[in-house]
Symmetry: C7
Subunit: 77 residues, 7 copies
Amino acid sequence: MAENNQKRPFDVLNNALNKNVLIKLKGETEVRGELASFDVHMNLVIENGEELKNGELKRKLGVVLLRGDTVVFVSPA
Amino acid sequence: MAENNQKRPFDVLNNALNKNVLIKLKGETEVRGELASFDVHMNLVIENGEELKNGELKRKLGVVLLRGDTVVFVSPA
Amino acid sequence: MAENNQKRPFDVLNNALNKNVLIKLKGETEVRGELASFDVHMNLVIENGEELKNGELKRKLGVVLLRGDTVVFVSPA
Amino acid sequence: MAENNQKRPFDVLNNALNKNVLIKLKGETEVRGELASFDVHMNLVIENGEELKNGELKRKLGVVLLRGDTVVFVSPA
Amino acid sequence: MAENNQKRPFDVLNNALNKNVLIKLKGETEVRGELASFDVHMNLVIENGEELKNGELKRKLGVVLLRGDTVVFVSPA
Amino acid sequence: MAENNQKRPFDVLNNALNKNVLIKLKGETEVRGELASFDVHMNLVIENGEELKNGELKRKLGVVLLRGDTVVFVSPA
Amino acid sequence: MAENNQKRPFDVLNNALNKNVLIKLKGETEVRGELASFDVHMNLVIENGEELKNGELKRKLGVVLLRGDTVVFVSPA
């Protein structure tokens, strides 16, 4: 399958390492924190993570491993 | 499996690179912005992205990586 | 697995190229327009596409790439 | 994996070719019509198809390609 | 992966051939009838099948092919 | 992928054979009974099974085959 | 696919062995307890597990095997 674009989607994750990201998950949960690692399944580790619901802080999570198949989007802050 | 059509679905993404697209995701979320890259899983990177809900701007996202399996459709502006 | 039928499901898509089709997606969305291309995943490109909700025109989409795994059915007009 | 039954599930589809079938899909949609073809993914083509909702005719579809992964059951009339 | 149990889950289906079974599907549908065949995907053919909703007979289906990935459980009568 | 833990998740199932387990399924259904067999897909056979809804006995199932992909958790009694 | 990060997501699970973790599952269920083992599918075994609903203790589970594909996130305490 042709991909004539130089950039690749996972570059966004590489560039966001150790920086703040906002992650929207399936359901109504969002997580905000520093991206510490990721893999090809889009499993993500966030440090200093906070769980948000409707934009409000629900609780502090510290380190959290997010399963890739629940991710809707990842946006660097 | 026979495919006697010359054009292929992903050509739409190739042609839309660096242009505005509207993306409908599973659930009620939509994202609008410039398509910066994509891969064979339909993972998409949008720049100057805006999250919409019921057609209204919900928040500005800037750069955002959308996971392919949450995509319903992509439409160039 | 035995398939003693001569016709194959994707023939419907081949025969519908450049013709009007109605596509029902998971959720309550439907899209109507001309089938411009498809692939083995049932990813579809529609031209002059219109998004329908409850049978009413919701908005004109023009060109739109529909992700195969959100398709419920495709019916030539 | 042992299968000591002589009959196989897809025989039902082979035997139903060109006959009326009722198909229940995920969600609340049902389709009734003549089975014209199928494949190993349980993608189905129905001719003279009718879409039903809560047992009532919603609309006539004519030819319709149903995506296999939305099928709940297929029952010959 | 170690499996030190002699019996295997599909033995239940082998033993239930030509006997009455109750099948719970995703959503609120249940089907009751004689198990006529099955395959490794847990696709099932039921004869003299009846569709139940909330434990009440909704309609008689006769022969019905149930798609494996909609099955929650199968219980011999 | 590194796994430096000696125990493996399926050991729980091996150790629970012929003992009582509680199984939570997707949706609101739970099943309780003796674990008779399982496979690598987490398909489970329960004997003397009881279906529970909101913690109340809904009906006795006797032998029941639970499809692995509907399992949320399995807990030995 | 490039992964220039040294840490890997599953390291979080390795480091959390025998320690308390909070697990959010699809739906509204959460489980808290000690992580006893895991595999590459993110199947998890928790000891001294407690099921929570809306942050309240629903019941004590003791040992519980959680199926990986129902996991949303895992956070060490």
